[in-house]
Assembly symmetry: C2
Homo-oligomer: 382 residues x 2
């Protein structure tokens, strides 16, 4: 615990207490694939000014903190929220892509990928080592690359909208891993360009009063089935703010209602409330309103009924994805990682050649399955 | 506290503890309109086998308990739930009306109406004294009449479906107020008939396997905009079970999303889940499914947007109803009663003649109003 206390600037007894209160948890499964890391612990909740997902890493020669990715506040209306938040500063309207948040760092000699909650993920790390240029960290050893991991071969969040069969990393922030201080938008563009790191699209640079221009961008994104935008102060002196499309709200609902017993009620209601504020602000006639009602209703009812039908047919409710591994050891390690996460899963190799192992991963949603089965068996509801 | 301890069969210290833990609360506002009642306390939570809403009443000459109305379990599918619950017993399929649950009793010389949570309501009592024959209690002094109070002049739940301008009482159970034991369906029918007490409709008497017949009844109810049914063992030896129509689910959602910050997330999600199970069991083609999606979406989105629009116009979100009183004292007493309930309200006399005082009651939904106002003022969401 001494290295945690030193890295977080706490007394040893304060660090011990974090552990006892179960705020400080294991961040990885020790393995040769993680040769540089001796120990790693993560904060499972916000603590002081340390974000949830903050990791403390001890390597053979070093110990350091990797700050959690900060929560980004959400605008429910563009007007007057943007103006109120950013004042007169120039902002970048950046595409918010729908994948999972990954911080990529170097520890010792290798690259590591850390998920939102602060776990060093072997699957993501394997892909990041192939995709991300190590020499970036020669120039900027203290920085982390904040990327969205996107594609069909994603173990956590699939997105079919981008037509990415594998898993790719789209950079959206570069931050000092110790202070969490970000670099400016234009400096990031320059670095991404120089190191040939894929970056999320910047759709517009404008000022916060140009709400009509911003609406046009969002409507266009929505029509392409995209998730939403993040507004960023060009200089990154002010916190970013996000805004999602109607499609994204419905997509989330579709997902949450398919696994309704696994998901928090708040998750569902907040998407519905967002949809209402958007409909209010983008108010565009009776026809569009009715389409929105239908879309919302369908994104709730359809997945629920599908889950009921699956259980009726004797199936378990699962979330399935096809993953690939370059290395069988990483595959075995990833199984241990899922156990560390507490995921209830089934895994099956479906194809294998010299280069890759293709695997079907099914996360079993036991609560939803059990709840539906009970009802179908004739048990009353409460 | 001694009378509570005696009535509930507790030690005095156990009764004191109920009070300290805030489970035992005041059940009424002392007033000449309640001449027989010296004291009345209610259970705000289930305690032992005493239901939430159980009341203990002390009159000048007596002290007794009035049991809370029991929670009725819900069937999410008709098949196999009914069969499983009722076995081979004959059941009555009774209309479940949409009003508020009232237990009507006699204490001393007068009639009293108690709401679900165990409050003696002056408004409801005034109406019950005019509608319910006192001589019923000469014959059955220990019984309570469990009724649904329905109509537009309802301070708690309005229902416009029944075309009842005032407030009427529909009997659905007669129970021993001390033991909560109900009398059989046919004995109740006989009593209602003899004392000319309005009773909820019994739509069918059948056995639990006749699911198709029951479905027909429910579809017919739904097409008339009615709420649902309660299934009852004719002999009332087995607990009843309820089932609601799609329209009722949507009505509830409409209500809950209009006042979304006041309502529990669970309330909303459970209606949605019911709707899915019904759609699954009544599965009737693509067209009906799409209509159901639209109906569901609209019953969520429309009230939310209306609330946003109201706040945008500078209004407060209120639930309004028109009530009438025969007696100004009851009006004043009812205001005190609403304060006891913790309701945030405004009240205005809108018409008055020799017979009646007409009043507009508006319950102010402060949380919803404040939440929306903040967002419209440009505050971010979390």
């Amino acid at each position: 615990m001494n290295f945690v206390a030193r890295a977080l600037n706490l007394s040893i007894s304060a660090a011990e207490r974090l552990r006892e209160r179960n705020i400080l948890k294991r961040a990885f499964v020790k393995h040769d694939f993680f040769p540089d890391i001796v120990e790693a612990l993560r904060l499972d909740r916000k603590f002081g000014f340390y974000e949830e997902g903050t990791v403390v890493i001890k390597t053979r020669t070093d110990e350091f903190v990797v700050r959690g990715f900060p929560k980004i506040k959400r605008a429910l209306t563009l007007k007057p929220t943007l103006k109120r938040h950013f004042g007169n500063r120039m902002i970048a309207v950046e595409e918010k892509m729908n994948g999972y948040n990954v911080r990529i760092i170097r520890a010792g000699d290798s690259i590591y990928a850390i998920t939102r909650r602060g776990l060093i993920c072997p699957y993501t790390t394997e892909k990041a080592r192939l995709e991300i240029p190590l020499d970036f960290f020669d120039e900027y050893p203290e920085f982390m690359l904040c990327c969205e991991a996107i594609g069909r071969a994603s173990p956590y969040v699939q997105s079919y909208t981008y037509d990415i069969p594998g898993l790719e990393f789209y950079l959206f922030d570069i931050r000092n891993r110790r202070t969490n201080e970000p670099i400016g938008v234009e400096e990031r563009e320059e670095i991404a360009d120089r190191y040939e790191i894929k970056m999320v699209d910047i759709l517009l640079k404008t000022n916060p009063e140009k709400v009509e221009d911003i609406k046009t961008v969002i409507e266009e994104l929505n029509s392409r089935g995209r998730e939403g935008v993040v507004f960023k102060d060009i200089e990154m002196k002010i916190d970013p703010m996000k805004y999602t499309t109607s499609l994204s709200n419905c997509y989330d609902l579709n997902y949450a209602f398919r696994f309704f017993a696994e998901y928090a009620r708040d998750f569902m209601i907040s998407r519905i409330v967002r949809e209402a504020f958007q409909s209010f602000e983008f108010q565009n006639g009776k026809r569009e309103f009715e389409e929105r009602c239908f879309r919302l209703g369908k994104s709730i009812l359809k997945p629920l009924i599908e889950s009921i039908q699956d259980v009726k047919m004797g199936k378990k409710i699962v979330e399935a994805s096809e993953l690939y591994f370059y290395n069988r050891e990483v595959l075995e390690l990833f199984k241990m990682h899922l156990k560390l996460l507490g995921v209830d899963f089934r895994m099956k190799v479906i194809d294998e050649d010299d280069e890759k192992i293709k695997v079907l991963l099914e996360r079993v949603m036991r609560s939803t399955t059990d709840r539906i089965r009970k009802i179908l068996n004739g048990n009353p509801w409460r």
